[in-house]
Structure formats: structure tokens, C-alpha cells
Symmetry: C2
Subunit: 150 residues, 2 copies
Amino acid sequence: MCDIEAFIVKGCARTYYLDDKGAEVILQFAVEGWWVSDIASFHEQVPSNIFIETLETCEILYLDHKTKETLLEKAPRFERFFRLLVQRNLSVTQNRLINTIAKPAMEKYLDFLNRYPSIPQRVPQHYIASYLGISAEFLSKVRAKLAKQF
Amino acid sequence: MCDIEAFIVKGCARTYYLDDKGAEVILQFAVEGWWVSDIASFHEQVPSNIFIETLETCEILYLDHKTKETLLEKAPRFERFFRLLVQRNLSVTQNRLINTIAKPAMEKYLDFLNRYPSIPQRVPQHYIASYLGISAEFLSKVRAKLAKQF
């Protein structure tokens, strides 16, 4: 079970899932100012099948489920803060879903650069390819094509 | 811009997106007890590229952005209600994303049946295929295979 919601003060992390064949599927990158968790597991207190891994030495603040509930009970003003946070997360996830289903690789990569400008310098290329749902070779071609345009 | 969050009292609706070639990509079905909206557009008050369509005669309650903000200002207790709602939505969207990227068609369809038991009797098969990201022909094969197992 994922019993923490982690806030990244410094560093970079990823969340991933293992598919039926044991291949990693990257769900999210998180850098400074982002929260990272398996929200379904955390809130419904059910087992998690998502892994969280730091990619750099990280400075992290975190809340466990019980502490968060106590905080919200004693200071209900935080409800709004967390609602806005979950909304932003939902908006990113919804956008990711649309990109995954409906957009060509070039557009996916440009959207990725726009959303995560610092990531390409910080993580291995094949992680980005995994996030975009394309092969590392295809990502190289997309980047070469982009380099020619700029 | 999507300026409403709609709650379905009775009926069935879908949200969809048009890809680069003008093809529909179904993002969500919603039946009794579900909320439907373009959350990014609603909360960030930016243009929407998601369409909402009723598939049956619906009875709907809805909140516009201004009314919702007034409600939350006057009755901050609703912050918790809406946070829990967005969390559930995020959990569904995250699961959908994992299914789309990492699961074979049979598993996706079983997960779909589990989550939306009443939908197959209520909407055209090609809508379900679109939601699952597979062709209508392939969905027929999956269903035929399932029928043999039961």
C-alpha cells in the first residue's frame, strides 16, 4: 500500500507500473514543487501496483494517511489546498490520456517539453520514450527531426 | 469553455475528443451518480476541446463556475466533498491511463465491465471500442472469446 504523499523540495523522481510482461511503463515524472503518490492506493487504503523511484538525490516532505486526516480534521482550510492540488493532478492526467490515445509522437514530445522543460537534461532518454509510449529509437528520430526545424 | 460540472441523476452521457484526423476518441462514459465535465477547462477557465453528449434522455443537475465558487465560499464544508470527488475521478483516470498503455484488450474489456456494468446494454458497441482504443471488429472477437469462457 502507498501510505505517503510526497512533496519534492529538491530532486527528481518517477512513478512506474510493471505490465504483464514485466516491462516498466512510466506514469509520471516529478521535479521540484510536484507531489508524487499513488492516489488511489493512498486514499482508498488498498494495495498499490505503482512504484516510486528517485532519479536524483532528493529532499522530500511527506504526509502519511493518518497525519493528513488529522491535519484536515484540525485545519479544514487545507481541504481547499488539497482539492486544488488534486484538480491540477487530474488535469495533467487527463491531458496525458488524450495525448497517449490521440496524438502523434511529435506532438506528444512537444507537449512533454512544454510541461517538463527540465526533464530531458535530467533523465535517460529511454525513460522519456517509455513515458511517451514510443520506442527509444523512434524518440531519437523525432528529436532529430525537431533539431532540423530549429 | 466548459462552464459546468454536471451531475447525472438519470441517463447516460459520454465525453469525447476529436483527434487530428477528426476521429472521435471517447474519454468517459457517465451514468447515474457520476459527474461529467472538462475539469481542466472548468477550473482554469480556459477553452475546452472536449465534447459532452447525452446518449439517453438525461436528468441533470449542474453547477456553473461562479455558483460553485460562491457555494464553497459560503459553505467551506463542501471543499471536502469536492476533494473526495476529484480524487475518485483522478483514480479512475489514472487506472484508465494504465489500462490504455499497458493492458491487453481482454483485460481492458473486463476492467471496463467491472467499472461500468450497465454500459454495454446502453451504448453502441463502437463507442465501447473507441473508449478501449481498439477497433469494433477486435472488440467483437474479444467478446466472442469471453462468451466461450462463460
